[in-house]
Amino acid sequence: MKPNHRSIRALFIALTLSWSCPQATGSSEVLATIGSLQITASDLERALRSSPFITQFNTLEEDQQAAVRGSMLQRLVLSRLLLIEAQAQNLDKSAQYLDELDRFRTGILHRRYMDKIRDEIKIPDETNQQMKAQFKGNHDAYKAAQSAYIADQYKRSRIDEIRRLRNRYHVQVYSERALPGAAPETVLMEGEGIRILYSDLPVQREKQVTKEQIEEQLYVRGELLLTARAAVDMGIDISDALDAFRTEHLPALLVENLEHEWLPDEAPLKAYFDSHPKLGQIVERRHIGQLVLATREEAEEMRRRILAGESLFALAGKYSIDPFGRKNNGDMGWIKEDRGSPVINAAISELKDGEVSEVIETPLGFHLITILERKPGETRPYPLIKDKVRQMYLSEKLTTYAQDLAQKFNVVWQISDQSQKQN
């Protein structure tokens, strides 16, 4: 994709993704395709709704929300591209991924099984009525009493259930072998389809460990495996969770591999820093005061009054045609020297602190500027900004990589055509 097309595409995305009704969340409208894979409006909305900034997103204006949607869609497409590439590279068959998947699978099976045990606990009607009567008028206290009852019952159910599963799977626990310094292959627990070796426990990696710590971890691991096994036998479906794990972890694994490939050591970072000298530069910041008038004559008159002793800030609060400046009595805050109007920057380049500028003409009006104080610029050496350099370097590499993937897997943005039709 050529750069000029990318910026046009971003504009189209922002223009098109401006629906605001909650009803749009179920839309199957296709926004982009990657080969035969479709990314729909509901995929995008789901990603947005599960993002950590959804509360703030809802407070934005429509055009701002459209811009965020556009950005989210691009991230979603990138994530899918990385997933497809990760699968093409067989990362889903790598030992690292399979190990992580197995741990996740066991954990989620355990959780779903225990959730089921908890959900099966019912408060007897009579007890519930007693609670209701006791806490009438205080719903929070009533809910807390309900929770306390369920927590207490759950504690008992959990112990009973583990005992039952140990019998069911004929589990033998060899506590006498759970000793510090045991051989890694020592079997500490085994039953039907379940076996725990000393090397399976995290504690075996620590130098100083007690028998009690080993036994505690053995019990935790045993409970995890027993309930996971029981969940499988019960047919508890965790395909949704496994799918989500795959979608999130394979792209992350690919990026991790790429980082190792791109940065085998610090040499590329240092070279990048040397070729981008501006990375270490922090420009001067200036605390600016400003008064804007509609005509040159008015501006000259105000300048005379300021030179005669009146306050630029007091006059800005009364007469400035810039709404922000007028509201803030001309105090424009701290502005970096490379930001703002080039015409103004050029005109105040020689201005000393506390002086009032000559009248400066811009399309917005006739400006009088003063600099209250400055924070001088500086150049930071590589060691101090290593993290920033790393971030910039990887971001640049990933951008190029993503563009290559987009070509390789044929990304087609459907929304630009619709946007053109709308316009």
């Binding site: 605001s20 909650p22 509360t55 997103f57």
Partner: protein, 196 residues
């Protein structure tokens, strides 16, 4: 992939978690002439409404709504009112709004009137209302008197979300700090809908 700059900045601002100040103002204010023994006076040590008080015995001050009109609470006299105090920056408040929308849709014919009291600035309130498709009126409290207003309605901690259930006769049936759940609705709101 190139990110549109505006979107990037917005995301950066969002992720940084901008927090608005808590603000609002008094919704209902008593005058000396209105004083009734059962109605708490904002000037006394215990200036709040509580369960059992009758809100129609107090003077009701109009507040601007998101539809551009101004409404006093007695505009909805005769309905079963669920006052929902919320703010745009409050995640739990936003979390319960879809539930409130559903409750309003389901029980409107039976006389339920949910009224959102936005203890916040108008623009973010309006945007949240649009984003979530709020189907009940939202009144806007401004920055200056919101905390007092919450106190007046029995919420001395000024915590949102906060819900006040008012019967058709104006009597406060229940006040609740936190989210409305179905069990709470069934216990304290639904019975009022079944009475004339």
């Amino acid at each position: 992939m190139e990110q549109p700059l505006t979107a990037f900045l917005i995301i950066a601002i969002l992720v940084s978690g901008g927090v608005s100040a808590f603000a609002g103002y008094q919704l209902s204010q008593r005058t000396v002439a209105d004083q009734q023994p059962a109605i708490p006076d904002p000037q006394t040590k215990n200036p709040s409404f509580g369960v059992g008080d009758n809100v129609w015995q107090s003077h009701s001050i109009p507040l601007p709504a998101l539809d551009g009109e101004k409404y006093a609470l007695d505009h909805w006299k005769g309905k079963v009112i669920l006052l929902n105090f919320w703010a745009s920056w409050c995640a739990p408040c936003q979390y319960e709004i879809p539930e409130l929308i559903e409750l309003q849709r389901k029980h409107e014919a039976a006389g339920l009137q949910i009224i959102g009291i936005g203890v916040d600035k108008e623009i973010p309130l309006r945007n949240v209302s649009r984003s979530l498709g709020i189907n009940y009126p939202v009144l806007v409290a401004d920055d200056t008197r919101g905390p007092k207003m919450l106190e007046y309605w029995g919420n001395s901690g000024q915590i949102v979300p906060y819900n006040v259930v008012i019967g058709r006769d104006g009597r406060i049936n229940y006040t609740h700090l936190g989210l409305v759940d179905q069990e709470m609705f069934d216990e304290y709101v639904a019975p009022l809908l079944n009475t004339p």
